[in-house]
Every structure is written in structure tokens, then in C-alpha cells.
Amino acid sequence: MNLLEVRDLSISFGRRRVVDRVSFSVGAGEKLALVGESGSGKTVTALSTLRLLEGARLEGSVRFEGREVLAMDPEELHALRGNEIAVIFQEPMTALNPVMTIGAQIVEAIRLHRSATLPQARELAIEGLRGVGVAEPERRVDSYPHQLSGGQRQRAMIAMALACEPRLLIADEPTTALDVSIRHQILDLLDALRRERNLAILMITHDLNLVRRFADRVAVMERGVLVEQGETARIMQAPEHPYTRKLIDSRAAREVGEPGKGRLLEGRDVRVDFPVPRPGIQGWFSKGRFTAVQGATFDLAPGETLGVIGESGSGKTSLALALLDLVAATGEIKLEGQSWAGLGAAQKRDLRSRMQVVFQDPFSSLSPRLTIQQIVGEGLEIHEPSLGPEARRARVMRALEDVGLIEEGRTEPLLDRYPHEFSGGQRQRIAIARALIVDPRVVVLDEPTSSLDVTIQKQVLQLLAQLQRRHGLAYVLVTHDIDVVRAMAHRVLVMKDGQVVEAGPVDQVLTHPRSEYTKELMLA
């Protein structure tokens, strides 16, 4: 008999049905991955096996060891949750209580289901932390979540989830919030624990690389429907459903052209420092310094893409903002021989029209109370104020055609719509149109695809490559994703802790990485 048996499960919120007749099962000691893009219903499906969703109507059947979860009373549910099925969440910083030590939280989890005295429970907590590979568990047990690194926090959360020796662990994107170098450690840990305890793991993820490496079986969900399931190797090699094929095929192909000659943008020893408050009275009089970028040097030719790759906190975004003069920087940044330093307001504005930016999150990068026409047309208003309303409208239309949001010649009432009426991919196209309308030479792309679904990522990267060839644009592409660099960049800058650890042409860096850190990144 399977440990978890889900049959014809439907989930609705109000009148909206988000999951439609999903069936799957997980056997003891098995690793099943539930794969899908955002909004596919994978998380609600998993959480509904514990009935953790508020206000959801569940139909169908969820059986755990033959018992019907949907028919359980609160007492039985309580005995099930945490004790037999445990959950670990994506973001350990928000899933752990910040004002309790991790030891106290694990002790609490243990004492909910086991009759143990406080000292006994504490011993169990220390054992648990040791079991998940936390160094010095006797000391760490009294740490608060903020005192731990991201990887340690995730380990602490796993220890908490496993404290009562559950039979099934639901892992909701367990590695998405972690840096690539730590991801593998956490996956290896989960696999080791599974072998040790015959634990079944239901992994929710959008990352196919992860699935390939980790899961025994895969279930693919699209808009609330389970479209395909089967052995991982079979699905990866011979996907049957077109959506699965699309997902697997979502790695963007390299379609970039050859860079031109010359030097469009140059950075010499660019440094970014942020003032940070010192603790106590001292902080009233002097500020400390945090160096986000120390000494980045690079050149960029027309039509060329410089990939800046690094993990969170590596200083890559600070470097991007410094190029745009949005944060103060020292060193030299020159665009077509002109530097930001010492420019008056009018000259600065002129320089800004030649260097534009596209941000990561298209949901926060468009002003929510302006129409598309106002958003895209804002640059024209600043840089070409003499343009009449008709001409401006035509230019906005042309920019939207350029980014493929509207087909040529078709006039849709698109211009008077608001950002919330568009999907993530469409919004990112609008953001690109806003940048391109002022005819920039350089566009800074700050993680342009990382908040988009994988199938959309590919389209946006293709569009960016097209635009580069069409307009001879130079890109500064900031990303943490080595696949994006592989598809787009001509040259690479690898950053770690504010320092450039490696720089060079993309082939050289990716095929013969010199620094240890780059090698680690390549493994992801």
C-alpha cells in the first residue's frame, strides 16, 4: 500500500477551482517531485494533504496509510501534522520564529507530539541538529535564526520537521532561497535522511535541474491539472505531454550575434560603499562602511553583452546601480567617453537617455496607477518634450511592437490599460519598451528573467537577443543564473563578496574556470 494516496483531489477557493481532479501517490521511502510553474496549483495540492489551506473547499480523497485525511476531526489532524507528515518551506527566515532560539522551536515541536521533559527534549533537539549536519549543535541550539546562515537555517528547519520522525516530508521549494553552492548540500542531506529513515519526500519545485538530480518520479502540473507523471528518467528523455516538453525544452538557445568594435562603456576600478550605522552611541557620530563593490574593471563594445554573475550579496546589483548613477560610486564610469562625475542636471539627463535599465521584478517596476501609454511614454516626455501627442502615441506603439507586445499594424486598446492587467512576461516586455523608447546605447538588465516562469524566461531572452541584433545594443546582464549567461553573454564578470574573482570571454570562463568559486557555480 502506498503511504500517501491522492485520488481525484479538487481544490476551490470560492467559485474558483484551482486544482482539478489530481491523482498521485507516494510510497514509503520514495521521492516524488511535483513540478509546475507559478499558479499551477502544486503548492496548494501539497498543502491540502495536511488540510493547511484556509477557506479552501477540498473534494476527492487524500489517504495517508489508508486513513482518509479529508474526513479527520481536529484531534486526528493534530496527530497527523508534524508527527506523521511534516513540511519545510521555501524561505527559512520567515518560517522560523525570529524571537525564539531554534532549540526552543525544535523542543516545542517535539513536545507537541511526544511526552518528553524539557531536558530530554533539548537533548533530542541537539541530536536532531547533529543529524542534519549543523556544526557544534550544543552551541547552535541556543542561536536565534538571524545568527545562522541561510543554509544553517534550512538545516535547522529540516531538523525541526524531522524532530518527530515523520513518515512523509513535504518540501516546498526547499532550495530556491539558497545560494547555489549550498543547494547541493541540502539535497544530499535530504537524500541521506531518506535512506536512513525510509522517509518519503514530496518535493514541490519549478526547477527541472533539481528534479533530474533528485526525484524518483515526477508529476507535472499545469494550471491545476496533472498533465503527466512517471519515472524521472522516462519523463526527461521522452516527455509525452506538450507542456512537459515545453518545460524541459525551456533552456534558451544561444542566439546572440557578434559584438561590434570600439569601446562604448568602460569601468575602471569601480567601488561602491554604503554607510552602515555603528552600534550604540558611536553610531551617532560616525558611520561604518560596507563595501559592496571593490574595484570592478571592464569594457563593453556595441552589440556586446557583459554577464555579471554572482550570488545574492555579491555586489552585482550595486554595480549595476552604480553604472546608472543611482548609487554613489568612486572610480571611473564612462559612457562613450563621458563620465557621470561633474555633470550638470541637463547633461546628466542627456546621458541617462543613452543608458537604460530593466529590473528584475516586473510587478514592482511599473508604476501601478499609470497607464501603459504613460509608463512607456514617460521617457519621451523627458527627452523629447517637443513631440506632439499623436507622434508620441505612435512612438509608444512602435516601441510596443518592437518588444512583441502587439503585432505590427494592429491597434489594440492596450495603451490605456494598467499594469495589473498584464501577465509577468508581458509586463517585462513593457519594462523593456520603456527602456528602449529613448534609443539607449547600453541597457542594464538586472536579473531580467529570474522572477518569470521558465517558459516565459526563454521568450524574454530570445527577445533581448533579437533586440540586441536589431539595434546594436550593449547589455550589462546581471544574473545569478549560469544558464542565462551561457545563452546571452559575450564576456563574463564573476563576483563574490564585492570582488571580481574572475573575468574573461564567456567560452573561456565557462569551459576553463580558473577560480574555485566559478567551478562551484558551474555545478549548479
Binding site: 537604460q356 535599465v357 529590473f359 517596476s365 508604476s367 496607477r369 497607464t371 523627458i382 520603456r434
Partner: protein
């Protein structure tokens, strides 16, 4: 992309507000009451709206005429409630159209058959207060004064709070620190003492009260606006506007301000309810509006002093409760309508 007509975010919030029946009905009821009270002079007055006397037309509500006009003996303004004048106006050919309630808020009913305060009767629907003034008239005018007062206070407070908070939040840093210390010092002033001191220096007036209450009422709004500005100034769309070379002024007014107003709008009904409460309690203590002004607080004080005249306290209490409950229901519905989580829930495809 969703199908159908495009909707501006404010319009969507308004649609969500309308979907909340309780809140929407409360707003309608409040507006009806307020509009009626704006026409208080036509609804409750001791002067007729129109008089025909010996073949001539008079409009006493606009221009008063001496008693001699209507056959009286004196040159004093006509008292239309005087039985003699009534008799004159009732003669064949003459007539007078009175407002539904025959009393102004200051009119004393000299012809009451009962001692003051008189219980409800056919002449005085809700009875009279301890000086023989019609209670219904005083409540109507008192309600109007309270709401107008609250509107004035709210407008002044909101403007001051938004401007102050916006400057603090947008420029941040030292500007913010200095202005925040000022707010703290200002907020630590004992408001009630100041009111008592001011009422000793100046002759009491509604304008003075608006100034004093507003002077301390904007602090809360400024705090909200400051926080919103601090948050919104770091958002990507503000950065994108800066990268385009947009001017500070335009960034503030076009990009940040409209997205920072949600808490301000949500606060407006509560702010109004608070102002009405403040005015009422000051009047109750006798520190409020000048004597003779129709005021709910003064009526409550009368009710306390004349416990046997139950109609004073009960009627005043009901007017206050209905007003405040309506405002709070509107505020609740507004808060729900502008809740960012609901906006996101609606956005989800």
C-alpha cells in the same frame, strides 16, 4: 490579460467598496443625512418660507420684516410663533408656508404648556431643552455643525500630514530625523491644557477649535505617509523613473504620492469620527463652542444635569451613535476595499 474594459486602480477600489453593501449603504445614509442638515434652515426654522399678507408676498426666511408689516404694534422683528401674528396670517386671503419644524435652534418656545425642559409633544417633537429651545432643531443644527467641523479638521489634518510626511519620507536621512524629533516634541504637548489656556485667552469660536484640534491631529497621518514614502521611494518603478532622468517633483507627484494615499484615504472616516468625538467631549466640558451654538456635547451636558428629562440624553445619544457608527462602517469598508492583499488576490489570473 483580463478581458473587458480597462479599469483604473482607484475605480477598482471603488467597485470593491460598492460590493460591500453595509459600507456602501452607510455612506449613502450618511450623505443623505448630511445633505438634509445642509438645508436645516428650510427644514427647521421659526420663520415661514413664504407669506402672503394682504395681497403682498413676503419671503421672511431671506429677509425679516418688522412686526408692523403684519399688523403688529412694534418695529421689532416678527415672532411668527406669536398667537397674534398667527391669527393675522390665518385670515382669509393670507397664508404662510412654514418649514416642517417650526423652530430655529435658538428659538425659545414661550408658549409651551409645560415647564422647561418640556417632554416631547406635538409642537416640540423631541421636547425642549432646559431653556425651552426645541430639541429636534438643536440636534439638526448640532449634527450639521459637528460634521462640518469634522470635515474641516480632516481636510486640514490630511493636507498637513501628507505634505509633512511626504517631505520626511522622500528626502529621508537628516531631514527625516530632524522633522521626526519636531513631531515628537509637538506630540508631547498636553492638548487639553492648551485648550483650557486658549479658551482663557481668546473668546471661544469654532474657527479656533478647528485650528487647535487640527494642530495636533495631523501627526498620525504624517507618520503613515512618511512610512509609505520611505517604502515606495526604493521601489523599482521609482528607480526606473530616476534612471530616465525624471525630476524629483514629478517623481513625487506622479509615481510616489498616488501609491502612498491608501492609508490616508482609509483613515479619513476614522479621523472624522475622532473629530466629532473630540468636539463633543470639549463641549460637554464647556471648553468648546461659544454658548448658544447648537452642539451635541452641550446637549449631553444638559442631559446629565436633567436626568429626569430623558428625552434630551436619549435623543442626543442616538444621533451621536448613528453618526459615529455610520462613519466607522464606511471606514471599515474603505479599509477592506483598499486592502493590498485583496488587490493582489484580484490580480491573480
Amino acid at each position: 490579460m483580463t478581458e473587458g474594459a480597462s479599469q483604473n486602480p482607484w475605480r477598482r477600489a471603488w467597485r470593491r467598496f460598492k460590493a460591500n453593501r453595509m459600507g456602501y449603504r452607510s455612506l449613502q445614509a450618511f450623505l443623505v443625512l448630511f445633505c438634509l442638515s445642509l438645508f436645516a434652515e428650510v427644514l427647521s426654522n421659526d420663520k415661514p418660507l413664504l407669506v402672503r399678507y394682504e395681497g403682498r408676498w413676503y419671503v421672511p426666511i431671506v429677509r425679516n420684516h418688522p412686526e408692523t408689516t403684519f399688523g403688529g404694534d412694534f418695529l421689532t422683528p416678527t415672532d411668527y410663533l406669536d398667537p397674534f401674528i398667527r391669527e393675522q396670517l390665518a385670515r382669509p386671503g393670507n397664508f404662510a408656508v412654514f418649514p416642517p419644524n417650526h423652530y430655529h435652534h435658538g428659538t425659545i418656545n414661550y408658549f409651551s404648556r409645560e415647564p422647561n425642559p418640556a417632554p416631547p409633544s406635538r409642537e416640540n417633537w423631541l421636547g425642549t431643552d432646559d431653556r425651552g429651545r426645541d430639541l429636534a432643531a438643536r440636534l439638526l443644527y448640532g449634527f450639521r455643525l459637528s460634521v462640518l467641523f469634522a470635515l474641516a479638521v480632516t481636510v486640514v489634518c490630511t493636507l498637513m500630514g501628507v505634505v509633512y510626511g511626504a517631505i520626511q519620507g522622500y528626502f529621508a536621512g537628516w531631514t527625516d530625523i530632524a522633522m521626526e524629533r519636531l513631531v515628537e516634541i509637538w506630540g508631547a504637548m498636553p492638548t487639553l491644557y492648551l485648550l483650557i489656556i486658549f479658551s482663557a485667552f481668546f473668546s471661544p469660536s469654532v474657527g479656533l477649535l478647528v485650528a487647535l484640534i487640527s494642530a495636533f491631529g495631523w501627526l498620525g497621518i504624517a507618520a503613515y505617509v512618511r512610512a509609505e514614502f520611505l517604502k515606495n521611494r526604493t521601489l523599482d518603478y521609482v528607480r526606473a523613473a530616476k534612471a530616465l532622468g525624471q525630476r524629483n517633483r514629478v517623481i513625487i507627484f506622479r509615481h510616489i504620492l498616488p501609491n502612498s494615499l491608501t492609508p490616508v484615504i482609509t483613515l479619513v472616516p476614522f479621523e472624522m469620527a475622532g473629530a466629532i468625538g473630540a468636539l463633543t467631549s470639549l463641549d460637554f466640558l464647556g471648553l468648546g463652542v461659544p454658548p448658544g451654538t447648537p452642539s451635541l456635547g452641550e446637549l449631553l451636558a444638559q442631559g446629565k444635569n436633567n436626568l429626569d428629562a430623558w428625552w434630551i440624553s436619549v435623543a442626543t445619544f442616538l444621533v451621536l451613535v448613528v453618526t459615529l457608527v455610520l462613519l466607522i462602517l464606511v471606514g471599515d469598508a474603505l479599509r477592506d476595499a483598499l486592502d493590498p492583499r485583496k488587490e493582489i488576490a484580484e490580480e491573480a489570473p
